[in-house]
Structure formats: structure tokens, C-alpha cells
């Protein structure tokens, strides 16, 4: 009963905040004029990007302080979990950042709206294959917005944003390590992973080689990553930050020698990253990623050769929420992600039409780095790689 009363009080306080928000809008108009100077700084590409980024953050923080006052801490953080899980933005409201709180609530609403609208369209059409190109992305986008607004509320109200400087792109990274796969339907468990990456201007080439140590199983993949927009992109955004849009394409080959089948596939995906500093100062150091793409694979069974009858299409959907935290000792990049694909070792979740979920932690310095990754689909995957950066 007390919880219900608390939720009602919180809900009412949000309504009062909406009335209060009119005054905030007036204040925002004044701030937007001041923002012009910040944009001019960002446009000047003759300056070092890192300096520009720091200046931009510094300016934005100064401006935001007038707008997004936040007193992040444990108490707002707890509120962001409950009742925050139901009313996103509760944590920011408790921390005094009304503007962000309302935006998060709005995104929760949009997320739920898209999720249920897509779900209703999916159900009403009997999961029609003619509408699935529309319904599946809408459902996943709605789910993504719902999760993004909740996680943002938790991060912002606990921490209140962290500062960061520009990320250096290394021209050559050599990543190698160990991967453990728990899948009761296959004999393999232990893999050796080798994944170098070659970076030149807007373009990165990433070959991947995975060899099972305890089974006759291999996976080879070649990914090309072209940065269209972003700090290293063909075109730069007006504001230089973590945001970017990339075009990825890949070819892969799986050899299941023990089970006597092979799979080849080709895929293309447009993937974007949005720096949440653009959304609120309290979310500085966090970002969301999403990607949409298409793949086709061909399976060669023991009696047959590769043929069109055993070709299978796949919609690629990817969403992630990330945190970038920089210290003098190392940089940390944490990612919580959802991957709609079902053709990898992880597969998708049991039942439904979902893919896999995972977390990754990337710790790096100038010349060395470590990557930890855990993926949960119908199989569980744990991967640890050491990286040499040149």
C-alpha cells in the first residue's frame, strides 16, 4: 500500500513538474543562443579534435548547469530502480533534474507505444511475413527505447555523468584470446580466437579466426567497417563526440566438421552510435548504439552442395547501451547489448523470435588492452582477449 502511495506521490510530482517545465523552456531558449558559440568551436577542424571535444563538453557542462541541475547519489539511484523501473526518470526527478526526468519518461512512453503497436500489428497480422520487415524493427526499437530510458535513469541518477576525451584510433590492433562456449548440442567448448584489425582513415578491416581446441570446428569472418559520419568519418558531425554512423559488411564461413555441414554467409549493416551527452549532461560518458541490416547464408549438408534451396535470410538488428569511463591508468568501455541474429554460436534465446543478449568490457591503454565478453543465447559464450595496439 505504501508503495502505491509513493508511486502516486511521484506521479503527481511529475505532473507538477510539467507545469514547472514551461519556465524551463523559456530558460532553454536563452541558453540556445549561447550554444551558437559552442557550435562555432566545433566547426573549427583545424584545432585538435580532442581539444575541441573537451571544450565542447566544458561549454556544454557550463550551459547545462543552468538547465540540468543534478544531485546524483545513492538515494536517487535507488529511486531510479524502484519506482524508476515503472516510471523512468524517477531517479533524475529525485536528483533534481526535472528536464531529463521528463524526457526519459517521454522516451519510456514512446518505447512502450512502439513496442505495443508493433506487437499488436504482429499479432493482428498473424506474424505475416509481408509485414515482418515493419513489425519486428518497431517492436525492437520500442524495447530498445524502454531499456535505454531505464538504464539512462539509473546511470544518471547514481553517477550524474562522467567526463571523457577523444578516443584514439590505432592503425593496427592484434587481439587474441580464448573463448568458452557452453552448448549441450555440440561437442566443442574451448576455442582459440585471433582477431587483428587494420585501420586506415575511415576504413577498418577486421579478420576473425576461431579454432576449436577440442573439436573439428572453425569460424572465419572478414568484416569491413566504413565510418561514414563521426570523428574518423568521411563526414563529421557538427558536434564532435562519440556519435558515429558506420557501414559494416562481412563474409563468414563456419565448418562443423564433426556434424558434417558448412555454412557461408554474407551480410551488410548500418550501425550508429549516439552520444547521450547530446541528450543530457547527466548522461555524459554514455551512449546508445543501434544497427539494422540483412544477411543471407547457405548451408552445405553432408549429401548436398551449397544451393539456393538451402539459403536462409536474416534480419540483423543490434542495440547496445554503453559507458565510457576514462582514468589516468586506462580507459574502460562497458557495453550491454542485444543482437537479433541467430546464426552464430550463441543462437537466440529459447522460444519467441529474439536473438541473444550480452555484455562486454573493453579495458585499454595506449599499447595494450583486454576485452571480456559474455553472450547469452541458447548457448552461453565467454570470451577473453588480450590486445596489442600499434
Amino acid at each position: 500500500m505504501r508503495k502505491i502511495v509513493n508511486i502516486c506521490v511521484l506521479f503527481l510530482s511529475i505532473i507538477f513538474s510539467v507545469i514547472k517545465a514551461e519556465n524551463v523552456v523559456k530558460l532553454k531558449n536563452n541558453i540556445s543562443k549561447e550554444n551558437e558559440s559552442t557550435k562555432n568551436i566545433s566547426d573549427n577542424k583545424s584545432l585538435k579534435q580532442a581539444d575541441v571535444l573537451n571544450d565542447a563538453i566544458s561549454d556544454k557542462n557550463t550551459l547545462s548547469e543552468k538547465n540540468n541541475q543534478i544531485n546524483a547519489g545513492v538515494l536517487p539511484g535507488i529511486v531510479s530502480i524502484f519506482p524508476g523501473f515503472i516510471l523512468h526518470g524517477s531517479g533524475h526527478l529525485a536528483a533534481g533534474d526535472t528536464d531529463t526526468a521528463l524526457n526519459l519518461l517521454l522516451f519510456e512512453g514512446i518505447g512502450l507505444g512502439l513496442f505495443f503497436a508493433g506487437g499488436a500489428a504482429l499479432a493482428a497480422s498473424g506474424a505475416s511475413d509481408k509485414l515482418i520487415y515493419f513489425t519486428a524493427p518497431v517492436i525492437m526499437a520500442g524495447f530498445g527505447l524502454f531499456i535505454f530510458s531505464s538504464l539512462s535513469d539509473i546511470f544518471g541518477s547514481f553517477i550524474g555523468g562522467v567526463q571523457y576525451s577523444n578516443i584514439k584510433h590505432n592503425n593496427l590492433k592484434i587481439s587474441t584470446g580464448y573463448m568458452y562456449i557452453s552448448d549441450d548440442n555440440f561437442l566443442y567448448e574451448n576455442f582459440l580466437v585471433f582477431e587483428p584489425s587494420f585501420h586506415l582513415s575511415h576504413f577498418t578491416l577486421i579478420p576473425l579466426l576461431c579454432f576449436a581446441l577440442d573439436d573439428k570446428n572453425q569460424n572465419y569472418k572478414l568484416t569491413s567497417d566504413y565510418e561514414l559520419f563521426g570523428s574518423e568519418g568521411l563526414y563529421s558531425f557538427e558536434k564532435i563526440d562519440l556519435s558515429k554512423i558506420n557501414i559494416l559488411s562481412a563474409f563468414s564461413y563456419y565448418n562443423f566438421d564433426t556434424e558434417e555441414f558448412q555454412i557461408i554467409s554474407a551480410e551488410v549493416m548500418v550501425k550508429g552510435r549516439y552520444d547521450l551527452l547530446r541528450f543530457s549532461k547527466s548522461l555524459s560518458g554514455t551512449f546508445v548504439e543501434s544497427g539494422l541490416g540483412y544477411s543471407i547464408d547457405f548451408t552445405k549438408y553432408n549429401h548436398n552442395s551449397f544451393n539456393n534451396e538451402d539459403a536462409n535470410e536474416q534480419m540483423l538488428l543490434y542495440m547496445a547501451y554503453g559507458i565510457l569511463y576514462q582514468t589516468k591508468k586506462a580507459d574502460f568501455e562497458f557495453l550491454l547489448f542485444y543482437d537479433h541474429r541467430r546464426d552464430g554460436y550463441a543462437g537466440g534465446m529459447q522460444g519467441g523470435f529474439t536473438g541473444s543478449m550480452g555484455i562486454s568490457l573493453y579495458i585499454y591503454k595506449e599499447y595494450f588492452g583486454f576485452k571480456f565478453k559474455f553472450v547469452k543465447g541458447i548457448a552461453s559464450i565467454f570470451n577473453i582477449n588480450a590486445e596489442f595496439r600499434l
Binding site: 497480422s125 519486428a136 562522467v162 536462409n312
Partner: protein, 367 residues
């Protein structure tokens, strides 16, 4: 600050790790057909029937196959007359009994309660063990026969009667098979209601389960309808059912399949499971959760010369091939139909022959 960030990350990780564990459904399958009371015990070979009731002198079985054997072990205090009621049997099936010295016993045909439900009685004085064998008429003959396939009924259980009527009116059908999703939520009440509705069908109904049977109590289906994974032989044609209700097949079931498919690789073999390994519209993911597992299964079916694969789950009709094997998806039992595909409620009639294989597949439109 570091501690706070680590705290937030731990929260995210714990949210991710809160996924339910896999229940081992195959363990339930192994229990089907076994029951024990102080005066007797019963064991159905390969779990091809559910023990619905077992009291001293009274045994009720619900069949998952036309032909099967079962054994009754009698202990001290056992009744001298046993009434055996068997449901879901082909009309005019014959029950034979033998004592532990393989001597034939008299089985009295008591009553035909329904066209597919029969009551027998056996005198068991001075006997320790009785082996029974249920045989459908002409089930050993290699003749052409017809069966029907209907799947994905779900919440349209109140509309299924007209499909049953069409099946009853077609006297050439020997029995009906299903790839699951018989109910909306898989609750005991729903499953029992559906089993009651099957009384309006004059021929037996053999099924595996779908994902909807696992939404509520995942043990209910097995307790009421029987095993999810099993194989039977009828007129020289093998029917292999596999439980894929969790968008995949359990590793132990792959071992069972290897044995069953090895036995049947030189005969006509029909494979039935709920989820199609691959969705013909791959974008939709109405298929196995893992595509590499799907490839593993299809490779196995291809290796053992399976003649036909039958699936449900998708509420439409598709005809295609997978790993070179003819495949049909038929989910026309009445669950929310897929739109814009030109087909509504329907069922399939399959004409099969042990020496010829699959002679014909006909789509019967209901709406």
C-alpha cells in the same frame, strides 16, 4: 566514482543473468507409461501410452500410437479380474495377452465406449505377469493409407469441431497427427478440455507439443497426452515425433533420434516437430532459436533418408524443401491466421505407402 560505476555495471550484469534455466523435459518423457500401486505395476513399452488411472483391477490408458505393448506385473492382493480401458485407438484394434510363460490368455472385449475408446477385461487369477499387445487392424500390412495433419489450434478450440467433422466424414483417414500448439496456454484445464473435444473425432489423434503447451505448467501436456518425443510404426511407415517446444531439441533427444532414425532409414519415415528448423521467411525467426542447431538436425534427417518433414508454429501453409527433404508447414488449426497469404484454417491429408513413400499431400481448406 569508480565504485558507483562498478555498482551500476554489476546491476546491468545481474539483470542480464536473470534468465530461466532449461527444464529437462526429456526426463518427463521417460516417466510416461509407468505406474505402480501396492498390488501391481504397469509399464508401457517406449512410453507409447499415458496411464490415466491405475487402481487394483482397473487400468486406463491413453494411446500415443496405433500399436504398442505393455506389461502388468501382479503382486500379492491383486484383483482376479482386470478391466482395461484404452482411449485413442484405431477402431477394431485387437488386444492380445500372454502370461509369463508366453501362453495366450483370453481377453474379453467388453464395450466400445466411443469409436476410439474400448474396454477389455482379463482374468488374472494365479498370474504374476501379463504382457499385452495392442494392434490396429491391418497395421502390419504394407498398403497405401491416408492420415490427416492439423496443428496450431490454440484458442480456437471452440471452432475445431468443424475440422473434426470433415475428418470424420472422410472414411479413408486412419488417424490424425499434429505438430502441437493444441491449446493457448497449456494449462491442465485447457488440455483436458481439448482432450474432451477429441471425443468428437472418430479416429485417433497423435501429437507432439508446441511452445504454447509450455507457457503454463510444462508438465501438464506430458501427464495428459504423453511423450513429446517418440516413434511408432504403422503399415511399414515410421512416424518420428520430436519435442521442439523450446525452439530447439534437447541433446538427449538427439541421441534418441539417432537410434530411431537408424532403425527406420531403409523405410519410409515421416518426421514431425513443432518449430520449423528454418523459417521459410528467414527475416521472421519463426524457427529454431539456433540456426546452427537447425542445420545439425536437418543434416541428421538427410543422413538417415527421412522422406518428409512436417512442422507447425507458423499459422499458414508453406511447401518447400530443407536439406533436400520435402517439407510442409501447416498451422491452420484456427490460431490467429497469418494474413495476406491467401489461406485460412486448413488441414492436410497425406497419402503414404511404405514402398512408395509419400504419394500425395492435399490441402483441405476449412474457411
Amino acid at each position: 566514482m569508480k565504485r558507483k560505476i562498478i555498482g551500476v555495471i554489476i546491476f546491468y550484469i545481474s539483470s542480464l543473468c536473470c534468465s530461466s534455466e532449461n527444464e529437462n523435459r526429456y526426463e518427463l518423457d521417460l516417466l510416461v507409461g509407468n505406474a505402480e500401486i501396492p498390488e501391481a505395476s504397469v509399464s508401457v513399452s517406449n512410453g507409447l501410452a499415458v496411464v490415466q488411472a491405475f487402481e487394483n483391477g482397473k487400468l486406463k490408458l491413453y494411446s500415443s500410437a496405433p500399436d504398442y505393448q505393455f506389461e502388468l506385473v501382479l503382486k500379492q492382493g491383486s484383483a482376479f479380474l482386470w478391466n482395461i480401458e484404452i482411449s485413442n485407438v484405431i477402431k477394431n484394434s485387437i488386444l492380445t495377452a500372454f502370461n509369463d510363460k508366453n501362453k495366450s490368455l483370453a481377453v474379453n472385449y467388453e464395450d466400445e465406449i466411443l469409436p476410439d475408446k474400448v474396454k477389455y477385461s482379463v482374468e488374472t487369477a494365479d498370474l504374476n505377469k501379463i504382457s499385452f499387445s495392442l494392434s490396429a487392424p491391418n497395421s502390419k500390412e504394407m498398403t497405401t493409407f491416408k492420415i490427416a495433419l492439423v496443428s496450431d489450434i490454440q484458442d480456437a478450440v471452440d471452432k475445431i469441431q468443424d475440422i473434426f467433422l470433415l475428418m470424420n466424414n472422410n472414411e479413408s483417414l486412419d488417424f490424425v497427427i499434429s505438430a502441437g500448439d493444441l491449446t493457448s496456454q497449456g494449462s491442465v484445464e485447457e488440455l483436458e478440455f481439448f482432450q474432451g473435444e477429441l471425443n468428437k473425432l472418430n479416429i485417433p489423434f497423435y501429437s507432439t507439443l508446441g511452445n504454447h503447451e509450455t507457457f503454463n505448467d510444462f508438465t501438464a501436456y506430458t501427464n495428459i497426452f504423453g511423450r513429446g518425443s517418440f516413434q511408432f510404426l504403422y503399415k511399414g511407415v515410421y512416424f518420428t515425433f520430436a519435442d521442439s517446444s523450446r525452439a530447439g531439441i534437447e541433446p538427449v533427444v538427439y541421441d534418441w533420434l539417432a537410434g530411431w532414425l537408424e532403425d527406420s532409414k531403409d523405410s519410409t519415415n515421416i518426421f514431425i516437430t513443432h518449430y520449423p528448423p528454418f523459417d521459410p521467411s528467414g527475416i521472421r525467426n519463426g524457427s529454431f532459436a539456433s540456426r546452427i542447431e537447425a542445420s545439425k538436425l536437418l543434416n541428421m534427417l538427410s543422413e538417415y533418408n527421412v522422406d518428409l518433414t512436417l512442422y507447425g508454429h507458423i499459422h499458414s501453409y508453406y511447401e518447400f524443401t530443407n536439406a533436400g527433404i520435402p517439407a510442409y508447414i501447416s498451422g491452420g488449426g484456427g490460431a490467429i491466421p497469418q494474413k495476406f497469404d491467401g489461406i485460412n484454417r486448413h488441414f492436410l491429408i497425406l497419402e503414404l505407402d511404405a514402398s512408395y513413400g509419400v504419394k500425395n499431400v492435399e490441402v483441405v481448406r476449412v474457411d
